[in-house]
Amino acid sequence: MPERYRLVGSKCLTCHSEFFPQRKFCPHCRRKGKIVKHDMPTEGKIFSFTEVSSGPEGFEHQTPYFMAIVELKNGVRLMSQLVDSPKGTVKIGAPVQLVFRRIAEDEHEGAIAYGYKFKVVG
């Protein structure tokens, strides 16, 4: 899972558009595009956020928690949980940085999923 572990997205060498998650072909250039794997920036800012008070299965131990739409430095947006970010610091426009964390636990099988989250910095 290089996407979920290291934020590897895609770039179109024809129109220079960047994508996350990865795309198999460029929706703008279609067959004229050339898609390659491309590392996303690890810094960005909060574009929107919410504090989830009623979490889904597998997130019981983390609730309440913040979810955000993060706008990365290249303009690509993605959804992510925010961690290690005190309540007062979570604001639209606040700078955030990529961190690697535990995402959720499967209570039945005991499997633990890992992946990206972001934290407010500065």
């Binding site: 919410t50 009623s54 993605l78 959804m79 949980q81």
Partner: protein
């Protein structure tokens, strides 16, 4: 393409129907619509049924065949459509196209969802499938959270307030008081909504549509034959649908649904009408913010002005534009697959002047707006009195 009319509409009461099974809901709504239309079973040539998640919610697939079987309508073709919460709307569109194309003269179209057989957590997981499982739900997003992200951004960009959002729920509950099919026929105040507790800030419990059992059905007929069955057919003037990215983060904007904008423009073009021509609109208020965005994206208000319009009471019953006279998803209830058909049934009754105490006094043209997920599918239909 030829003109198509609705000649019958039927609903089940919406709510927690513990004593009623999925197939009994289908039967209730379909027989009500057939009785309303005056057609006989043998006149119906095809069935279109919208439902989102019966496999997860009741362990049943193959719903097309189930409906035909349950209604004693074998061997006519019967198909199930799925587009998350827009399943009913896309079923209506496919049924409309089948008659408009000349393939069929009379068809039945319905929507149904049985949601109370499983726990709230299981319902939430099933509904989560309307979003992007891998890049939203897996990471901890819930549906209220996804709409909350839109609400927060709308508030940030346009100054929309939590009170304005609350007023959508207040209005929709007030309308549902007069709807005998509604799940919640009780009025609520702004204070009730504001004090109902955050689910995903800034959205609170009473900003969210409920979990509901219910079904809805319509009988469609080629307009040239509609007068054989009813004196008050309702003509479908336009049927438009659009798609967008499954995941919210990949969209152009968080403060509106481009799929709604595209579908609405196409629908108004088909009907040669403008938003100002509409008297009654059933819009997809799965969350209060969704109603504010809908009245903007459909063209009734400029982007960012929807909250103010709600606050000024312009969308109340018999005000400037009567929005969600049924009570909307919020108060009438949201049996996911049934919603798109219920919206059309409500507009049909409004245009036929059969809506009782929630009747819009001047009511010639109506609109329905049904959304799948967080806006990856949008369906818009326009209707007028056909008599």
């Amino acid at each position: 393409m030829r003109n198509v009319s609705i000649i019958g509409a039927g609903l089940t009461p919406f709510g927690e129907r513990w004593d009623t099974s999925f197939r009994e809901l289908v039967y209730e709504a379909a027989t009500a619509a057939i009785a309303d239309s005056k057609v006989e079973g043998k006149d119906i040539q095809a069935i279109y049924g919208g439902t989102m998640a019966p496999g997860r919610l009741i362990g049943q697939e193959h719903i097309g065949a189930l409906i035909a079987d349950q209604l004693g309508l074998n061997p006519i073709p019967s198909v199930r459509l799925e587009a998350a919460c827009a399943s009913g709307g896309v079923a209506l569109r496919q049924a409309y196209l089948s008659v408009a194309s000349g393939a069929h003269d009379i068809v039945a179209v319905g929507g149904v969802e049985k949601m109370t057989e499983v726990s709230t957590e299981e319902v939430s997981t099933a509904l989560g499938g309307a979003g992007d499982q891998e890049w939203e739900l897996f990471l901890g997003a819930t549906f209220p959270a996804i709409y909350a992200l839109m609400a927060r951004r709308h508030m940030h960009e346009f100054g929309t307030t939590e009170e304005q959002l609350a007023l959508c729920s207040v209005k929709n509950h007030a309308n549902a008081v007069h709807n005998p099919f509604a799940q919640y026929r009780n009025a609520v105040s702004v204070e009730d909504v504001m004090d109902s507790g955050y689910i995903a800030s800034p959205l609170k419990l009473l900003d969210c549509s409920p979990i509901t059992d219910g079904a809805a059905a319509l009988i469609l007929c080629a307009s040239e034959k509609a007068k054989h069955y009813t004196d008050t057919p309702v003509e479908i003037l336009a049927s438009a649908q659009a798609s967008d990215t499954l995941a919210l983060a990949n969209r152009r904007t968080l403060t509106g649904l481009d799929a709604t904008v595209v579908a609405a423009k196409e629908a108004f073009k088909q009907a040669r009408l403008q938003p100002k021509d509409i008297h009654v609109a059933e819009v997809h208020d799965c969350f209060s913010i969704a109603e504010v965005m809908a009245i903007e994206d459909l063209g009734f208000y400029a982007k960012g002005k929807g909250g103010k319009a709600v606050q000024d009471g312009e969308t109340q019953l018999n005000s400037k534009l009567s929005v969600n006279t049924s009570g909307g998803l919020k108060a009438c209830g949201h049996p996911v697959g049934a919603t798109g058909i219920k919206q059309a049934a409500e507009v049909t009754w409004q245009l036929q002047q059969k809506a009782g105490k929630r009747q819009v006094s001047t009511c010639d043209i109506g609109l329905t707006h049904n959304v799948g997920g967080s806006g990856a599918t949008a369906v818009v239909h326009l209707f007028k009195r056909g008599d």
